[in-house]
């Protein structure tokens, strides 16, 4: 129960963060990715703000013991290898992100706007996730 409430709260903060930072607007994201056009640096400030908070808190409170505030182990990825799925996956994601200006977080946050376009993106993204997970397992 406790985990559900904290997860709901974390999701809410991240959804607010994506909305307030304007990252929910694909045009804003495309403006950042369009280095040859009218470059819009906003996304840098969003990542910078996120890392400025996350990184010190992580290294101060979690890194050494790798446990939560309640002493239970953190579930962190064990893989350290730069392997083919990582590289191929990042390339495919980059192409999709560049075509649309939409990544998974903003796609989900935009659902409540109710636009057909975003619903199509979310449905195809979910199908893609199932396909991608299958490819990775083989």
């Amino acid at each position: 129960m406790k985990n559900n409430i904290t997860a709901l709260f974390a999701g809410l903060l991240m959804g607010l963060g994506l909305t307030i930072s304007t990252m929910v607007d694909p045009q804003r994201v495309l403006g950042f990715l369009d280095l040859l056009g009218q470059w819009d640096p906003t996304l840098i400030f969003v990542m910078g703000g996120g890392l400025a908070v996350y990184m010190p808190l992580y290294f101060l409170l979690i890194h050494n013991k790798n446990t939560t505030a309640f002493g239970t182990p953190c579930d962190l990825p064990s893989s350290k290898q730069i392997d083919k799925p990582l590289v191929v996956g990042a390339i495919l994601f980059g192409v999709g992100w560049g075509l649309s200006g939409i990544c998974p977080g903003p796609a989900l946050v935009n659902i409540s706007g109710g636009a057909t376009e975003i619903l199509i993106f979310v449905v195809t993204m979910l199908i893609g996730m199932i396909v991608g997970a299958r490819i990775k397992m083989t």
Partner: protein
């Protein structure tokens, strides 16, 4: 500095706090693509925190709009482009084990080599994709 940059920093800080809290309180990485996939892949009681996270994320605009922030009025891209993009984003984030949140904030924030490499690759690929698609228009 423009107001939008302060807004971006504040929103970014909220993303960072949310991601930190999920790790510090739940012991989980706030990778939105991973949470979404796991949530739909197996609906079990162990997964309930993922659904709660997604409810918070998707419900956030209900609060944000009361604070004077808004979602974009429209997503102006052809349906076929959005469908292809959605498919690629889905496949890519699962194969590559993460997206902008999981690699870009949580992973880089932990100085994970995999996440730094993945972020550099998806960002530069996206920049090239935008450059090519805008040249063609």
């Amino acid at each position: 500095m423009k107001d939008i940059y302060f807004q971006a920093l504040a929103g970014g800080a909220l993303l960072g706090i949310g991601a930190f809290l999920l790790l510090y309180l739940n012991g989980k990485i706030a990778g939105i693509s991973g949470i979404t996939y796991q949530a739909i892949a197996s609906i079990t009681s162990q997964n309930s925190w993922r659904w709660c996270f997604l409810i918070g994320l998707i419900g956030a605009p209900l609060i944000a709009t009361r604070l004077g922030f808004s979602l974009p009025d429209q997503i102006s891209a052809p349906i076929i482009t959005l469908a292809i993009a959605g498919l690629l984003v889905g496949i890519g984030t699962r194969m590559g084990s993460g997206c902008t949140s999981g690699h870009g904030i949580c992973g880089i924030g932990r100085l994970s080599k995999r996440s730094i490499v993945a972020t550099l690759i998806f960002m530069s690929t996206a920049v090239v994709t935008v450059a090519i698609s805008r040249q063609m228009l």
